[in-house]
Symmetry: D2
Subunit: 391 residues, 4 copies
Amino acid sequence: MNAPLRLGMVGGGQGAFIGGVHRMAARLDGQWQLVAGALASDPLRALASADELGLDSSRSYASWEEMARREAARPDGIDAVAIVTPNHLHAPVATAFLEAGIDVICDKPLATSLADARALQALARRRERLLCLTHTYSGYAMVRQARAMVEAGELGALRLIQVEYAQDWLAEPIEQTGHERGNKQAAWRCDPALAGPAGALGDIGTHAYHLTSFVSGLQAESVCAELSSLVPGRRLDDHVQAMLRFPDGVRGLLWASQVATGCENALRLRVYGSRASLEFAQEQPNELLFTPLGGATQRLTRGRVGSAEAQAATRLPAGHPEGYLEAFAQLYRDAAEHIRARREGRAVAPASRWLTTAADGVAGLAFVEAVLASHRAGSAWTPLQQEGAIP
Amino acid sequence: MNAPLRLGMVGGGQGAFIGGVHRMAARLDGQWQLVAGALASDPLRALASADELGLDSSRSYASWEEMARREAARPDGIDAVAIVTPNHLHAPVATAFLEAGIDVICDKPLATSLADARALQALARRRERLLCLTHTYSGYAMVRQARAMVEAGELGALRLIQVEYAQDWLAEPIEQTGHERGNKQAAWRCDPALAGPAGALGDIGTHAYHLTSFVSGLQAESVCAELSSLVPGRRLDDHVQAMLRFPDGVRGLLWASQVATGCENALRLRVYGSRASLEFAQEQPNELLFTPLGGATQRLTRGRVGSAEAQAATRLPAGHPEGYLEAFAQLYRDAAEHIRARREGRAVAPASRWLTTAADGVAGLAFVEAVLASHRAGSAWTPLQQEGAIP
Amino acid sequence: MNAPLRLGMVGGGQGAFIGGVHRMAARLDGQWQLVAGALASDPLRALASADELGLDSSRSYASWEEMARREAARPDGIDAVAIVTPNHLHAPVATAFLEAGIDVICDKPLATSLADARALQALARRRERLLCLTHTYSGYAMVRQARAMVEAGELGALRLIQVEYAQDWLAEPIEQTGHERGNKQAAWRCDPALAGPAGALGDIGTHAYHLTSFVSGLQAESVCAELSSLVPGRRLDDHVQAMLRFPDGVRGLLWASQVATGCENALRLRVYGSRASLEFAQEQPNELLFTPLGGATQRLTRGRVGSAEAQAATRLPAGHPEGYLEAFAQLYRDAAEHIRARREGRAVAPASRWLTTAADGVAGLAFVEAVLASHRAGSAWTPLQQEGAIP
Amino acid sequence: MNAPLRLGMVGGGQGAFIGGVHRMAARLDGQWQLVAGALASDPLRALASADELGLDSSRSYASWEEMARREAARPDGIDAVAIVTPNHLHAPVATAFLEAGIDVICDKPLATSLADARALQALARRRERLLCLTHTYSGYAMVRQARAMVEAGELGALRLIQVEYAQDWLAEPIEQTGHERGNKQAAWRCDPALAGPAGALGDIGTHAYHLTSFVSGLQAESVCAELSSLVPGRRLDDHVQAMLRFPDGVRGLLWASQVATGCENALRLRVYGSRASLEFAQEQPNELLFTPLGGATQRLTRGRVGSAEAQAATRLPAGHPEGYLEAFAQLYRDAAEHIRARREGRAVAPASRWLTTAADGVAGLAFVEAVLASHRAGSAWTPLQQEGAIP
């Protein structure tokens, strides 16, 4: 085995949620070791967090600017940085590390505007560094199986796509009233200054859109959308509904809501083609439903039936459930492979080729901005700004 | 027990589908006896069909006009007529029987235009006759349970409604090429002259819309919709997608498709309120999922847990599945109760008060016309024509 | 269509459960018309019940002995009698009607002893009359599909059978304390004088065993069983657990319980062969799960995928759920076909050949007696008394 | 955070399955670091395996005897050893490390005889060292939730327990014929010399039994069992079926099969009490079904609804699936807590108190030996040897 890569982290201090997930995911496959961090904006909390994680105190930084500068200068500096801050910092932090020549693993969304996302994409390309996004759900074996089946033509010509992402954690105005759980998360996610102009749209709508394009291989051409703030007093959208037009007459619906009472993390994708259909539900990630026209629905299971891509994203035999952390770990494994391949001057292993990259981040922002524009125009059909995208 | 009511039927001859369903449904509870019919436009097929059903040949009519006239004149004439023809005949046949003073049980849609539907509603009111629609799915015990729970406020304030109705029987152009199954059905349902201007929209979109309003108690204020003919050469829509605005800021999505490969009769309704949500899937009609905010999803089952209305629509103990025919039979049982109550000068039993009536038919056509108009206007938000509705 | 056959009924008066089910089932397909009955042992209740059902008062009998005698003498006497009394009367009533030359449709179990069952089987054969049992679950289309697949060898060599039938309606001692629901049912079903020596074993264990042998084509060679009365004070078993040995080394488990809290009518059969397996759950009767070795589980659905036998037991298209009443109606349809075929001197239509007959009733009693004997012998392996069976 | 504990491993070299699982599980929570190993009996393979895992070559041992001796002597010697060898080595290896004063984490079964298991238990007690078993399924949050609910009396008095563990990976004689997958596993698991006298019984029957006793808090008093080798030529049982008697009249069935075609890793437990029931299915580990008598089934989900014990075994919010590795990691986390608590002279944290210990291993062997004895005695009811157990 190669020695683990050295990972730094910006954000993810005590009380944060997604930082801990990144750390478990990075650890799972033994490919990464956390060695540095600017874990919190508050210096004391940053230090306490670093201590709790066993970081050497010399590598717990008070600011990400300093961290980028000093880690780049160390002979044993970090191989990559994981950015797990609120959304508004994604772009500046990523910029600093890319400028310092350090590979970047960024929580989604890539930025809070399409322009920023494009600038980042161009920077990464110029500096020849990895800029990848943790669209977790694309790491599931059965999502990769779905993509492989679409690519292989098993669905025939695509016709319809239905995607939905329903949660209920914002069903009450917890960002306003304070609440024992979720308060801190809710506070920044419902604040336009920290989350950007999109609420549920940016937080989970982008996941739904990414899953759709990841599996179908299609980007929407235009959207007809409406945003709502269904909880009184909320400053950002908590419900998104949109009709989508894809190339070649493919049609679709997307809805994302954080006030869908009773829903936990109900991301679900259904793709209908002329010959067959697929259905994936994130809460049952070890299976994929496949139904050929006129035939019986088949429950494809991880580890038993699958493409090479699905097998490569599988750690355990069929019937031994994998979950969200394994999907997340897959992205870290893929990122490690991309970095190693570049350093070794070789091609990326096929099993890791579907890593979510800056191009996906740009596409995500194009979707967000088109939805915002459509909403402002009274749900007018609005094209996605695709020019300039670097695939 | 009261003696069975006498039923006549227009349409439903050999080779038809829905006529046989009406007959089984009418028979199940022993409240109706089929005694007369104009079962087919072709006289020979009409006679053969009547013979097969054991009708007295004197009451097998060559035309529905004659049937209405002669049955109205008999002392033992039919108590009600079931209309199970292609859509374009619903209005003229219903008119003839209502004019003859005969109660009408009509397959949906009530008519092929909103104007015709309103005229029928007014006529029924003027003649003081029953004009009810067989929106089958409202006969399910667990659909009635859902309505009762919404009415009782168990969901809190409604916020979101998601309804979908997916089939795949038109996934291939069987109306064009001929096909061993479904051909005859497909031929008229895809022909604007027989089905009216709406394809999947009229056929199943109206069911989805009715189920939504039945359970939620809400009619949409406006729609933003797009119709598609996803199978090449099809003359009517086979896919409908629409965003809906209901009163008080409630939002919704509706999709109906007859080309959703792998779907059989997948009508599904989800209603989210501030306190709880409900989910009903027609293919599992003995259960209703209820999830209070922050709590566990509860699987409410027919016969075990339920409101008075649900219990009244239940024939068998829990765990002994009821199905589509029982739901359909419920409408016939309710219609019989309405007729008997009127004749006996008493109020309708509460358990039968939710029979689908002409007002629902009018609302359905208002929905259809608004969707058609929105589609023609490039998915502009279009209000439903609600003025003049007689609730 | 042939004119409906004339049906009489013994038992099934007001307050009874299964009689009403028989009547709906007989009515559904239009093959039977109820014309006579000895509906209750109490004459007044018998008359009131007959009136409620619209029977001619001259054919409402005070006793089944009289009914058998007088109906046999009428030129328009009943074509068959349905016996829906408590178990201890099945044999004497069936005997009386068979002796009178009248075909018999009997609720299960056929009798309360194996000797009685064999005597009935011999009598029916001697009198050349139909003696069939309403093992409802064998009327489901997907159960027939399962049998067809086993017969066709799609499972390979059978190896394991798991069958279970779990209810909870006797989870409390309602036969002792009185209870608003179920009391009357519970009273006779928990009384050895009325139900026979077997409680849950006779009531539902026999259904589980019949389903097993119906689908697998196998009768158990021996059983190793234990009965329990898990509710204090209960006089008959409410829980049965048994290991089964079938021919050719096939092994199985059977459990049946009426105190399995939370279970409604959870009859479930799983059959494992060397090449594939099948699973049927009565509460989801429109589907059958089929899994080939190494492949994906396929959800076979009624109306979409099926053998000729399954199609013949299907009334509605796929996705339009059928239920318990339709399965029950299938038995009445099959019985009508058997009677008509005999009278017309022709072979029974293949689709009706799987009607449950006296031989199944004899096999059921052989199972019951073997379980009772094994239990009494401290769960010793006990052979089923198969000699003398007339297949 | 405390520094990670140092872990050694015996077994788990290249080509093994469970060793890799142990390593991922140990790594996930950051509590353990693998530093030493005797990974394979073949010295070259041992070295290659150690190198692949990044072990220092000085701590890759040619034999476990040497490893125990030398690690015990190092100041930075391992804190615990994980034993992941075939079954017949569990007892001698565990003995060696316990004698050396090193804590032991052992794959199940603890030994291949009850006598050996008891000797180990006594040794661990005498040496005051941890001897824990990786009964993985007891690490699932919802299994702990089930146990907490039973302990809290939410089910009332227990009555029935149904447990099953069905797999199909031995449905073909792959241990005899060779096979591209599973061959090596199958070879030792079907060989009495390496696996001990119990095949499926020892491999998965013990898991089923442990899950039963873990959740219910009950040990069986006696068993009535039958073993079968359903695949021709197999030398050990591949199918176990057993009736169980628990204290206070509780009854149960257990079946475990490795030839149940179509089953992946279908471990399922159902516990019925006088007031409610519970159902857990390992392949859907994020949920637990709870049904109160007369009420609706509730789907309790990890992270949303749960006891303190379930919350403590939870890493992610509801709707973000956890799986088998997280359950396994829980055992490693619990073991670390036990070791730290002993060293720090404090009580074990309540959340870790349910670690599977030597007493469970002894109980498992008592179960295995009773089943073997019952089988040999023609399925006679056979008591479990409970005397001498150290709870």
